[in-house]
Subunit: 163 residues, 2 copies
Amino acid sequence: MQLRNQVEWALHCCAVLAGLPEGARLSTRVLAEFHGVPKDYLSKALQNLAQAGLIEGSLGPSGGYRLGRPAAEISFLDVVEAVEGAGRSFACTEIRCNSPCLAEDHKPRGPCQIARVMWQADAAWRRELQAVTLSELVATLAQELPADQLTAAAEWMAERAGR
Amino acid sequence: MQLRNQVEWALHCCAVLAGLPEGARLSTRVLAEFHGVPKDYLSKALQNLAQAGLIEGSLGPSGGYRLGRPAAEISFLDVVEAVEGAGRSFACTEIRCNSPCLAEDHKPRGPCQIARVMWQADAAWRRELQAVTLSELVATLAQELPADQLTAAAEWMAERAGR
Ligand code: FES
Ligand code: FES
């Protein structure tokens, strides 16, 4: 079970957008260059984020993306689900109903015990991702990354940001 | 992010094998018939379980599979990892190192903050799956399934089991 690479890209783009000064925007081209990833594939991931309302795009020469709502209101789960979809990682196809020992009109009561365990684990995964917001991520980055690295990145962005 | 259908099949096969009387074995054909799934695809999943030591096969006309160790020592996680592999669901490709603002010889300290959150969530998922064993599953099934259904299944198996 493997998440797409675009999840890593989308989370990093959101972290960058969450750290921008008020009103600033970054284009797909700039985000692709900063992260060293192919612009066309990144573009698809950014569209997913925009469709989910997590980021907001504007057209024109100084256009680009900014967050669609406050960073404190966007969780890791929001970003992951925007890119991967919100479906559970385990799909039960009800194979328990295929048993040759069951009556023709057999209807199982409630979900399968096996599916329940698998869905509990899925819920635990989502809970962890829901518990961390982009604003917490930005705070951790500000604490842990070397100051000169943060300054260099902020300057690089400022030179390329639209408004 | 979606697990293979074989995970559902493998878990159900393990539940059946965990419920067999001491010494009994079931062939791939019988397990496929009971679950109504294609024998050839199931065969691959059973081979994965055998490679992981969770089940143990024997050849010959009365051959088949039985558990490779006590049901209390096999967790959902063991079964899922045997079929899906034990790799983390999130792979970090270190895109943070692609930034044009970094010095040529930049070496990041420790794993990326984003990867850490994703791996914590992955660990929470695995913890849940590790916490439930096949013997707990069999106990729940025995409690929750109608008695006549359990008896019918046990008789159907007994007629087809090898030793
Ligand atoms: S029938 Fe789908 S998990 Fe049991
Ligand atoms: S560099 Fe891979 S998740 Fe941040």
